[in-house]
Subunit: 449 residues, 2 copies
């Protein structure tokens, strides 16, 4: 579905061809000139892989996210004639490459770990095969989407695990770029958050949206009571009243007086949350509102949520820390050429960089996992194409000949993530700083036989 409406002053395009770094097009330009760009269409002439050399410091696992956003953006990776003319005028490309780009679209194949799956250092989470030219230009788009969304989902999953049965609302949109806010809500939801405050994410992805009132609402009324009355009139007694604008205990008394014992919840957004929640619970019970829930917000993350486990809190709202990946706002995924053919129709040769501190393993990798009684115990990859006799392949086909062939709904991805997290033992799920639960390495059959 494509929905577009023009308003006055904002320039938007849904083509993604320019969402790239200049060097991809200067490299392409060189390959178009020497004929490498489109060589060997029949037998894929290049293989690029996405992987992370490491997890963020202290993390034991990561959750891959962004694939559902990325695949349509790859399909939309095109250039219109104005964009091509601009690239020429800027000296990025010459005439031949201009011709190449005018009807460019990616026609190769992509395989990937399913969205929401776990990943570890070395996991080949996405593999792009095609001509050298069509693969090289996707680098920035692929990495932008996966690095951002994976950072959010990886942090969000830790918060979800820490919260146990208590639902979490994503409310971090105001702390990140306005479009990243929508992707943040999506990534947090697939990682197990219950809902979001972001309306655009609700509309675009069908994520449940929630939200009641800000401090401004109370301040704008003549009294806290008038504000609560107005909110209950509009939203019913089942709403959540924000009780900390002036004094929490007074706010709770007013809230129950106005809404009665059917009051849905009170929200506390300041102070020592464990202490305030304990006092609020006692007070709500005294006021005859034992079913009124307590929602805590204010700079929460997986560590604070863990520390609040014994407090009488029924749900959390998390903003800044989920939108910024809880200290790690980007995954460190890279997009690397691992195999290439030197001549039209020639065989692929393995390539890898030898740079100090950035050595890569070359070759097209196929990853496998082994489980023991439902518990993930090993992940490894082979590069020689011979299938091993044990383990389950991790990648699935997601694009074939340029067409998306994998598009699970967000609820399906969310369920997949929850199931993936259940394959980890308790120690891997701890929020305490640790080392990666697994490191993924080469294990070609002939080398271990």
């Amino acid at each position: 579905m494509v929905r577009l409406t023009t308003t006055r002053s904002v320039t938007v395009t849904d083509r993604t061809g320019l969402l790239t770094d200049r060097y991809e097009l200067t490299m392409l330009d060189s390959w178009v000139r020497d004929g490498s760009a489109d060589q060997n269409r029949a037998q894929h002439s290049a293989v690029f892989e996405v992987f992370a050399r490491r997890l963020p410091e202290g993390r034991r696992y990561g959750v891959l996210a962004g694939l559902g956003r990325l695949l349509p953006l790859v399909e939309a990776f095109t250039f219109d004639s104005d964009e091509v003319a601009w690239l020429q005028a800027e000296g990025v490309i010459g005439e031949q490459t201009a011709d190449y780009l005018r009807d460019f679209r990616f026609r190769g194949d992509i395989d990937a770990y399913p969205e929401g799956d776990l990943y570890f250092p070395g996991s080949p989470v996405l593999t792009v095969r095609g001509t050298l030219g069509e693969c090289v230009v996707l680098e920035t788009l692929v990495l932008s989407v996966l690095n951002h969304d994976t950072a959010i989902a990886s942090a969000a999953a830790r918060m979800v695990v820490a919260a146990g049965d208590r639902p979490i609302i994503e409310m971090g949109g105001r702390r990140t770029h306005e479009q990243a806010a929508i992707a943040t809500a999506r990534a947090a939801y697939l990682a197990g958050f219950a809902s979001t405050s972001n309306l655009a994410a609700g509309r675009r992805y069908g994520i449940p949206t929630v939200g009641t009132a800000a401090h401004a609402f109370t301040l704008a009324h003549r009294s806290e009571e008038a504000a609560f009355r107005s909110q209950v009139d509009a939203l019913g007694a089942g709403t959540t009243l924000l009780v900390d604008t002036y004094d929490i205990a007074e706010g709770i008394r007013t809230a129950v007086r106005v809404a009665g014992p059917a009051l849905g919840a009170v929200r506390i957004d300041s102070g020592d949350l464990a202490d305030e929640a304990a006092k609020a619970r006692v007070l709500l019970d005294e006021l005859g509102a034992p079913d009124t829930r307590i929602v805590a917000t204010s700079d929460l993350d997986e560590f604070v949520i863990t520390a609040l486990a014994d407090a009488p809190i029924d749900g959390y709202g998390v903003g800044t820390r989920v939108a910024t990946g809880s200290g790690h706002p980007t995954a460190s995924m890279v997009y690397k050429l691992v195999a290439v053919s030197d001549a039209v129709g020639g065989p692929l040769r393995t390539v890898s960089k030898k740079s100090k501190d950035k050595v890569s393993v070359g070759g097209h990798k196929t990853a496998f996992r082994e489980y023991d009684d439902g518990r993930l115990v090993r992940e490894y990859f082979i590069t020689d194409g011979a299938l091993p006799d044990r383990g389950k392949p991790v990648q699935v086909p997601v694009i074939r000949a340029g067409e998306v062939v994998h598009s699970p709904g967000i609820e399906e991805v969310r369920a997949f993530t929850a199931a993936a997290l259940r394959t980890l033992p308790a120690e891997a799920l701890s929020v305490a700083a640790g080392t990666p639960y697994l490191t993924v390495t080469l294990d070609n059959p002939e080398e271990t036989a």
Copy 2:
């Protein structure tokens, strides 16, 4: 200018009405029901302010950014009939509010610190005046744009100061959301970066773009020499050759052999950069290429750049650390109601929250700065509207009756930022951890007379 083209699978809209949190519309719904939303059109019924209670830990100043992106987004803050219907179906708003939103646009006034200006804890960087309804719905959009762009510009400015005369290329797009990448390039450029790798930012904002080749380019050729030859053929000897794919010294020898002494630059992207740069400089000089520059990349930030001050490096490329705000990916700006009228035509009353740890100063603030010999020495605000006899007002009108009245070009903003940084003394510009150079407080004339 509005440019729109449909492609197949990507949904884009340039209306910004849904880039908001649900609670803004539930609050609006309540105010529409009780008649507060549109009261008092003639005499602004509400004043909201944006400010930061604190700077990121260790920072001495911040650089405000995002205003040039925000203002058109405020003009585009509208809802189409499908969006309004969706909001009704989701139970966010009732029929009356649906009518209100169908022809909604912001018709109030906004004043702000000029984009690129310095800010400190308490600086009222943006003030929104209008009806309660039209002001409350802008909260998320305003904060998303300012918090993101300001975080980038504030980090970028520190890197620019640390780099001195050496130019910095922004190349962090792959580490952040694909749309945030464009805003990142813009914010870094206005803070003093020399260029960006991001083509969309180049096209949209006229920022100079640069880029040459990745390791994949070298790996895809049969030899490093073949790769360099291909790049020099395409881009000329003035290009920058990436010399660390295999062995740096060998790479430099090959680069000079291929391009000759007119080789523009070599790029080093791994290893100990100070050490490698020193060796590279000696080698380039020995090879008769004294004018070939050395560009260093790889996890640079203001601290590493400071440490490299004595290394023979001619320019930097910064990616991850600028795109993630160098450890502080969001500014902690908030949007608070500070004054409101209770009745149609009634006077504004000052309001402020009393929550523990989040106390606010109420009242519509006007900020002033005092300089001594070009040096910023004081910033304060008044709330009573009486002009003080000293100091220069900081805010400028940016929107009047809903129309943007302030739209400097990006070069003008960049020059403004550079001038603003020159008003700080050396100790405030240090990258070492410190406290804010200033804290901005209330100083009503009658209280100091």
